[in-house]
C-alpha cells in the first residue's frame, strides 16, 4: 500500500528517475523492520559458540585454592544477563573451557548443582575439575561466546583464570585384606611327607627293561632243556611221517606195518608203485640220494615184512617190525632234513 501511494505521488511528478528512486526507498523502508525483529543467530557460528542469544556476562569462583593431584575442585560458573527464552544458558550447550583444558584437568559437569533463576537473570553451573599433574597453576579462564541480535554480531565475555596450587598425590591408603579363607577340613590336614610309593616306577622299569632280559633267559633255558628241539620240530614237519608213525604204533600184524610203510613212501617221497617191494624201494632210495647203507636197511626190512606176511609169524614179530619201521622212518627224515 505504501509503495502504491509512493508510485501515485511519483506519477504526479512525471519524472521517471524520481519515481524509481522513491520506489526503491519505499522498499527499503518496508523490509527493514522485518529484519530487525529476527533473534536467531546466523548459520555461520564460531566453534566455541554456547548457543546463547542476548547480552550476558560470565564469572567463576572455586571452592579451593590448593589441591592434590587428581583431587577435585568445584568451579562455580555464574552467568548473568538477558536474552530470549529460547536461547537461555543451558549446561549441555555451554562451551566455555579453552581447548587445552582437558589436557590439564579431568572435567565433569555436575547437573545436580545447576541453579537457574531466569526471573533474576542469573544462571549458576558447577563443574568438578581434577588436575592431572603438579604442572597446573591455574584453573582455566572461561570464554562465553553469545550472539547479540541488537548489534547482529557474536560477542565474547570472559572470566579470569583462578590461581591454583597443585601438590603431589597422597600415597594410597592400602588396607590389608583380613578376609579369613574358608575351606573344607581336608585342606587343613597335612599329608605325611613319606616318600611316594615306587611300585609304579618299578613295574614300568621291570616291564620295559626286565622283560627283554627275562625273555632271553626263558629262551636260553628252553634251548637247554630241549637241545634237539629243532630236530624234533623238523621231524614233525612231515605230516606223512607223523601219520606213518601213528599207524605203526597201533599195527598188530606185519601186513599193517608193510602197508603203513608203503603209504609213507608214496606220500613222503612220491614212491610210484602201489606195493613196496624190497628191490624197488632200494633202487628208489638210492636214486633219491639216500646212503647205500640206509637203502640196504630198508630193503632188508621190507624183505622181513614180506617173510612175516607170507609165513604167518606171531605178533611179537610185528611189534619188532613196527619198531624197526619207526627207526627207519626217523633216519630217513633226518637224512632228508640234513640234505635240505
Amino acid at each position: 500500500m505504501i509503495v502504491t501511494v509512493v508510485e501515485q505521488a511519483a506519477g504526479l511528478l512525471r519524472k521517471t528517475y524520481i519515481r524509481r528512486s522513491l520506489v526503491l526507498v519505499s522498499l527499503i523502508l518496508v523490509a527493514s523492520p522485518a529484519r530487525a525483529q529476527s533473534i536467531d543467530p546466523p548459520v555461520t557460528r564460531p566453534l566455541d559458540f554456547s548457543d546463547l542469544v542476548g547480552a550476558y556476562r560470565i564469572q567463576s569462583t572455586a571452592n579451593r585454592s590448593e589441591v592434590h593431584v587428581e583431587q577435585p575442585v568445584l568451579l562455580k560458573v555464574m552467568i548473568q544477563g538477558k536474552g530470549p527464552e529460547k536461547y537461555h544458558p543451558r549446561l549441555e550447550k555451554l562451551n566455555i573451557f579453552p581447548t587445552d583444558a582437558p589436557e590439564q584437568f579431568f572435567i565433569e559437569p555436575m547437573p545436580d548443582l545447576t541453579r537457574a533463576l531466569p526471573d533474576k537473570d542469573v544462571w549458576e553451573f558447577t563443574f568438578r575439575l581434577r588436575p592431572k599433574s603438579t604442572d597446573v597453576t591455574h584453573l582455566p579462564g572461561l570464554k562465553l561466546v553469545m550472539y547479540n541480535p541488537a548489534r547482529r554480531k557474536f560477542q565474547p565475555s570472559y572470566a579470569d583464570a583462578i590461581p591454583l596450587t597443585v601438590i603431589p598425590a597422597l600415597e594410597p591408603d592400602i588396607k590389608l585384606d583380613l578376609k579369613v579363607v574358608q575351606a573344607p577340613d581336608s585342606f587343613y590336614e597335612i599329608r605325611p611327607l613319606t616318600h611316594p610309593s615306587h611300585w609304579r616306577e618299578y613295574l614300568t622299569a621291570g616291564v620295559l627293561f626286565g622283560m627283554p632280559i627275562a625273555c632271553l633267559a626263558w629262551y636260553l633255558a628252553w634251548r637247554r632243556r630241549h637241545p634237539d628241539g629243532e630236530n624234533v620240530r623238523a621231524r614233525r614237519r612231515s605230516l606223512a611221517a607223523r601219520t606213518a608213525l601213528g599207524r605203526l604204533q597201533t599195527a598188530k600184524q606185519a601186513a599193517e606195518v608193510s602197508a603203513a610203510v608203503a603209504v609213507y613212501l608214496r606220500d613222503r617221497l612220491d614212491f610210484p608203485a602201489h606195493e613196496a617191494t624190497a628191490p624197488e624201494v632200494r633202487r628208489f632210495l638210492l636214486r633219491w640220494g639216500v646212503s647205500r647203507q640206509c637203502a640196504q636197511q630198508w630193503s632188508a626190512f621190507l624183505a622181513d615184512c614180506d617173510a612175516a606176511r607170507f609165513e604167518g609169524r606171531k605178533p611179537p614179530l610185528a611189534e619188532r617190525l613196527s619198531h624197526e619201521a619207526m627207526t627207519l622212518i626217523q633216519a630217513l627224515e633226518d637224512h632228508s632234513c640234513s640234505s635240505v
Binding site: L176, V180, V181, A183, S186, F187, R191, P192, P196, L208
Partner: protein, 293 residues
C-alpha cells in the same frame, strides 16, 4: 629269514622301550625330602591351623609353609608335597599358586584323588564372569578310576610285553604265526606310545596371578577383548606365544588375547604322558632364573 626279522623286531621294541622310558614321569629323579625342611614346613602349617581365627597371622604362617614346601618340591616331587603346597597356598589366599601346585602334581601323579578334588574346589573359587567365559571344563572322570593317561600307559606296557612273548615263541617254534602276533603287538606298542604326541594338548599352561585386562594386542593401547575384557586371578589358559613383555594366551573357551607377562608368572606344561614339555624360557621362568625377554 624269520629269525633275522624277529631279531630286528626285538631290537626295535627295545629301542622303543628306551625312548618311552625317557618320556615317562617315572624317569624323574626322586630324592627323599629334606627332613629338617619338611619338619619346618609342617610346623608352619600347624601354626597356621592353630591361628585360624586370626586371619593375618594364619595367612603369614600358611604362606611361610607354602614357601618351604616349594623348596622341598624342587628336589623331591611327590603327591604329598604338591597337595600340602596347594593347601597352604590356598589357605594363604594365594589362589593362583594353589591351582598351579595341584596342576603340577597331577601332571606327575595323575591318579591322586585328593589332588583332583582340591583342584576342583580351588577352581570353584575363581571369580569367573556371569557367562563363565574361560572356565575349564569340569573333570567328569570318576575319581576311583585310573585316568586315561594311566590306562594308556598300562596298554603300552601290555603291548610291549605281548610283543616280546610272541618273539620268544617265534624263536622256539620257528613258525610264522607267533611272529605275526609279535608284529601286531609291536605296532600296537608304537602306536599307543606315540598317541599322546598327536592327541594330547601339550601347550604350556598359564595361571593368571592377578586381575588383568585381556587385550587384542601386545600393548596397553590395544582395545580390550570384547567377550572377556578382564581375566580374574586364578584363571587358567594355554600359552601360545611370548613377545617382549607380553604373552599370547588362549582360554579353554577359545578366547585369544594378550596380557603382560608379569601377570601370569605361573607357568608349566599342561598335560603330557611324558615329562613336562615346557620350552626353555618357560621352565627358566618357572625356576625364577630368566626373564621373558
Amino acid at each position: 629269514m624269520l629269525l633275522r626279522l624277529s631279531i630286528a623286531l626285538f631290537l626295535t621294541l627295545t629301542a622303543g622301550a628306551i625312548v618311552y622310558w625317557r618320556q615317562t614321569p617315572d624317569a624323574e629323579v626322586n630324592v627323599d625330602p629334606d627332613p629338617a625342611l619338611g619338619a619346618a614346613a609342617e610346623d608352619a602349617f600347624q601354626q597356621g591351623i592353630a591361628a585360624r581365627t586370626d586371619a593375618v597371622s594364619a595367612k603369614l604362617k600358611f604362606a611361610q609353609a607354602a614357601d618351604l614346601y616349594s623348596q622341598l618340591i624342587k628336589n623331591s616331587p611327590s603327591p604329598s608335597l604338591f597337595l600340602n603346597l596347594g593347601n597352604a597356598s590356598l589357605l594363604a589366599d594365594r589362589l593362583p599358586e594353589a591351582i598351579f601346585a595341584y596342576q603340577r602334581g597331577l601332571q606327575i601323579f595323575p591318579d591322586d584323588e585328593a589332588l583332583r578334588r582340591h583342584l576342583s574346589y580351588a577352581r570353584a573359587l575363581v571369580a569367573y564372569g556371569p557367562s563363565e567365559q574361560g572356565r575349564p571344563a569340569d573333570d567328569a572322570w570318576p575319581l576311583w578310576l585310573p585316568t586315561p593317561r594311566t590306562l594308556l600307559h598300562w596298554g603300552v606296557l601290555a603291548a610291549y610285553a605281548f610283543g616280546l612273548f610272541f618273539l620268544v615263541r617265534t624263536w622256539m617254534t620257528r613258525r610264522c604265526k607267533p611272529f605275526l602276533f609279535a608284529c601286531l603287538s609291536a605296532v600296537a606298542f608304537l602306536f599307543l606310545a606315540a598317541l599322546p604326541h598327536f592327541f594330547v594338548d601339550d601347550r604350556p599352561s598359564v595361571v593368571i596371578a592377578r586381575d588383568v585386562p585381556l587385550r587384542l594386542g601386545n600393548a596397553p593401547s590395544y582395545p580390550l577383548h570384547p567377550e572377556l575384557p578382564l581375566l580374574a586371578r586364578g584363571m587358567e589358559a594355554h600359552l601360545i606365544a611370548a613377545r617382549g613383555d607380553w604373552i599370547f594366551l588362549q582360554l579353554s573357551t577359545g578366547q585369544l588375547g594378550w596380557v603382560p607377562a608379569d601377570a601370569a608368572n605361573q607357568i608349566g606344561a599342561m598335560s603330557r604322558v611324558g615329562k613336562p614339555a615346557c620350552n626353555g624360557i618357560v621352565m627358566a621362568r618357572l625356576a625364577g632364573t630368566a626373564s621373558w625377554n
